[in-house]
């Protein structure tokens, strides 16, 4: 089967407090191949900002305990992403802090 090229999705990312110190910037837009999840996003982050992943996903630590990711999606109540497998959707606004 020749499946069509996966369409990219765009998410908007904000960095707050210490995380902005790590990235040197406060916001950016990121494209990901569909289907995308939080773990894929962390891959991109780790590539751009080495040392990013361990802060959010410490080896042997508990995901999302000493840091947090808030997701705002399409006018719905925001929620914290606690599962690396959480799917991401086009237009999501993700705030890392």
């Amino acid at each position: 089967m020749n499946s069509p090229q996966a369409a990219p999705i765009h998410v908007f990312v904000k960095y707050v407090g210490r995380i902005a110190v790590m990235t040197g910037r406060v916001r950016e837009s990121i494209s990901l191949d569909e289907p995308a999840n939080a773990d894929h996003l962390l891959d991109v982050m780790e590539q751009r900002y080495p040392g990013f992943r361990p802060v959010f996903d410490p080896p042997g630590g508990v995901f999302n305990l000493t840091t947090a990711i808030i997701c705002r999606r399409g006018g719905q109540p925001s929620f914290s992403i606690v599962d690396p497998q959480e799917p991401l959707k086009d237009g999501d606004v993700l705030t890392f802090w």
Binding site: R18, G24, P50
Partner: protein, 127 residues
């Protein structure tokens, strides 16, 4: 490190005026019986306009209360303004801090070697 090791101030700009050093030193001098910043080997002078805090250190003796090699005034200094080292190391650390605070405004508030997380220069053009 080779020279004489002593307590030094990295920069007055890094002193928050918290008086933690002063207060803990008084605890050492009072042999743990209480806190009395008036009786301390460090005094924090605040200038009349309130724009600067200046630590004055008057301590020649070995500290009675050390932790991981640092005297308690240095241990409790939250910004890293106080340092326990020799002159040579002090100079190189000062240079390191000067550069870091140009690159990343966070380091107006703490010395870079006390900051345990990864950091990058701030991209000011994107703000």
């Amino acid at each position: 490190m080779s020279g004489l090791i002593k307590i030094a101030v990295v920069s007055n700009d890094l002193c928050s005026g918290c008086r933690g050093c002063e207060t803990w030193c008084s605890f050492v001098l009072a042999k743990g019986q209480g806190f009395r910043p008036e009786e301390s080997r460090i005094h924090i002078e605040t200038d009349p306009q309130g724009v600067l805090n200046i630590p004055h250190i008057n301590c020649l003796e070995e500290c009675q209360l050390k932790h991981d090699g640092d005297p308690i005034c240095v241990e409790m200094c939250p910004t890293g303004c106080l340092i326990y080292t020799d002159d040579e190391d002090l100079e190189s650390k000062r240079a390191l801090w000067e550069q870091a605070r140009q690159d990343q405004p966070l380091f107006r508030l703490i010395v870079p070697w006390k900051y345990p997380y990864p950091w990058r220069p701030l991209k000011r053009d994107e703000l």
